[in-house]
């Protein structure tokens, strides 16, 4: 243990000196083979870091840059236009419609995924012979590709599809001829249903892992004191799984705003653009209208929204956590 610490601090020393480029070369040379090893860590990092810089960092910067241009594929034809793309978005009804659809999708997929995912996890918490089977069944949609399940749901929600049959002929809840994908609200409902169906297994799995950490003794003690099921859940379980709850919520909100493939393949944004979400709208602007600058501005706006929402959630959760713990 002491050896590592020593080696590491020596290494830090060497690295510091080398990059400050102000060292007599003799001493660090001897220490190069230590755990802190001079250039060695940088050599290990080099391939990945280079790739990352080229394919992720540079495009990130470029997305911002492009959003200030009337960007053309021929570089010389591009023109700097300041905030015009952003102003255009703010005045674009389709942008607002797409933003509200993304928001609706986010709310109506995040809440059910948390509530139902947690409910299933609670039902599955106790070890039983059937637990592994149920776990696999609920998780199956998570591992299936978005392309396949999106087309599958387009099929299920088609006019003569299984959903209409089930609701009409089987449950007698509707007349069984709802044209789901032909109207904004019913189409959004179908798209949300897919999001929830595909995502529940994921939140369930996280909650299931988190529930293993809920102190059983505390639950029993609370029961002895006469706390009912809901009180025990509120007072013991929720505080114990709070970090998992935070993680799931933040990830799902980000994921919700990033909905793309399901909308693209289920409705293509139709009918008449009424189910367009931010990313399908961005995609259309960029790759159908070749308006890369405007598309980038939409992407940047979405990033900012998602970032702000994440920060707000972290704050809210941290504050609530303080209360809960006491």
């Amino acid at each position: 243990m002491t050896l590592t610490t020593l080696g590491e601090s020596l290494g830090a020393d060497v690295a510091g000196h080398v990059s400050a480029a102000s060292v007599p070369p003799a001493r660090p040379r001897r220490r190069r083979s230590s755990t802190g090893g001079g250039l060695v860590p940088y050599l290990f990092l080099a391939p990945g870091a280079t790739l990352f810089a080229l394919t992720v960092l540079y495009p990130t910067v470029q997305a911002f840059q492009m959003s200030f241009f009337d960007w053309k594929l021929v570089a010389s034809a591009s023109k700097f236009i300041g905030f015009d793309n952003y102003l255009r978005a703010l005045q674009d009804d389709h942008f607002w419609l797409a933003l509200s659809n993304s928001g609706i999708y986010m709310v109506f997929t995040v809440v059910p995924q948390i509530v139902i995912g947690l409910a299933i996890a609670l039902l599955l918490k106790r070890k039983s012979p059937t637990q592994p089977l149920f776990r696999v069944l609920f998780y199956l949609p998570v591992v299936t590709s978005w392309v396949v399940v999106s087309l599958l749901f387009r099929f299920l929600f088609s006019d003569a599809g299984l959903i209409n049959f089930t609701l009409g002929d089987f449950l007698h809840l509707t007349d069984g001829s709802t044209p789901w994908l032909a109207d904004r609200w019913t189409a959004l409902l179908a798209i949300c249903a897919l999001g929830v169906w595909k995502g529940i297994g994921w939140s369930m799995m996280i909650f299931l892992a988190a529930l293993q950490g809920v102190p059983a003794a505390l639950l029993e003690a609370a029961a002895m004191d006469g706390a009912n099921r809901w009180q025990r859940f509120r007072a013991v379980t929720v505080p114990a799984i709070w970090p998992a709850l935070l993680f799931v919520t933040v990830m799902l909100v980000i994921g919700g705003f990033n909905v793309f493939v399901s909308v693209y393949l289920m409705t293509g944004g139709g009918p008449a653009g009424r189910t367009e979400v931010l990313l399908t709208y961005m995609y259309k602007q960029a790759f159908e209208n070749l308006d890369f600058g405007y598309g980038s501005a939409i992407a940047v706006l979405l990033t900012v929204i998602v970032f702000i929402l994440s920060v707000v959630q972290l704050r809210v959760f941290r504050d609530r956590n303080g209360e809960g713990a006491l």
């Binding site: 590592t4 990059s19 290990f44 790739l51 394919t55 992720v56 696999v136 049959f165």
Partner: protein, 282 residues
């Protein structure tokens, strides 16, 4: 167990019923998909819907395989996913090793920048990545897909593997070092073999992500020689709604999904490991 039920667990029968209804909702769409893939067009929409196709036919599968390029699509998916996974694992395990075993200037800062990759959703970068691919003359090529698939998986794998490397006792490293083993040898002969579970998790997640990837493939490729399975399925489904040959679409879907489900069933524990150790979002 007895005492549990006394302080008020839900009755087992009620629990199982609830779970079964839920599981049914999860599984019925898949069963219906498989069943439809064995139906001819005439029998796709029947009332009541049939889960056991009669007459059953393998015509859709034959047609899928007979369709020009379907084998090619399948092969492309396999090639792109395998190469991307191999490169990503090599490169990100090297980075993870540096983060786990060395102290160097800028270490945590660089690591944090890498984590940015987990927070920037892939599709936000689709426009600049398209431009980049165009400038590098990688549009409509498998190499272009590999480049961006590797890029997209670097952050997660580095994050995941760093944790695994850090859990290997440092004493082993020092012992090898005393014996005169260089850093590369310690990484290759010691760290990698001991991090096998981590590598397995990373391999599975990366491979499946590449196998299923749709948006980049849609954007960066346009000729059948360079397209992948998800694109093939989308092409089968066409764009209109009425003339879709659902049997064919789902035959292709089943072909794409079955390997994934097998991998999942066989390597389940690695999925759970990946999920609980990091930010993997399916």
């Amino acid at each position: 167990m007895r005492s549990h039920s006394r302080w008020g667990a839900l009755p087992a029968a009620f629990r199982i019923t609830l779970l079964s209804v839920g599981a049914l909702i999860m599984i019925v769409p898949f069963l219906y998909m498989v069943s439809t893939s064995f139906k001819t067009s005439t029998y796709v929409f029947t009332n009541p819907p049939e889960f056991i196709p009669s007459p059953a036919t393998t015509a859709n599968y034959e047609q899928a395989f007979a369709t020009e390029n379907f084998g090619r699509f399948f092969l492309n998916s396999l090639i792109v996913a395998s190469i991307s996974t191999a490169i990503s694992l090599l490169v990100s395990s090297m980075m993870a090793y540096a983060f786990a075993r060395f102290t160097f200037r800028g270490k945590e800062a660089i690591f944090r920048v890498m984590l940015l990759g987990l927070m920037i959703p892939a599709i936000m970068l689709i426009i600049p990545q398209f431009i980049l691919a165009k400038n590098l003359h990688l549009l409509d090529s498998l190499a272009g897909l590999v480049l961006f698939y590797v890029a997209g998986s670097l952050s997660l794998n580095t994050f995941l593997l760093r944790g695994f490397f850090e859990s290997i006792p440092a004493e082993l490293d020092q012992a090898m070092q005393v014996d005169g083993a260089g850093a590369w040898r310690r990484y290759w002969r010691l760290a990698l073999p001991l991090a096998k579970p981590g590598l397995a998790t990373a391999t599975i997640f990366t491979f499946l992500a590449c196998w299923d990837e749709f948006t980049l493939a849609l954007t960066l490729t346009n000729s059948p020689e360079n397209q992948t399975l998800p694109i093939a399925i989308k092409l089968f489904a066409g764009s209109g709604n009425n003339a879709v040959q659902w049997g064919l679409v789902f035959a292709a879907s089943v072909i794409a999904v079955v390997p994934v489900i097998i991998v999942f069933l066989v390597f389940q524990r690695y999925f759970v490991q990946g999920l609980t150790s990091g930010a993997v979002k399916g």
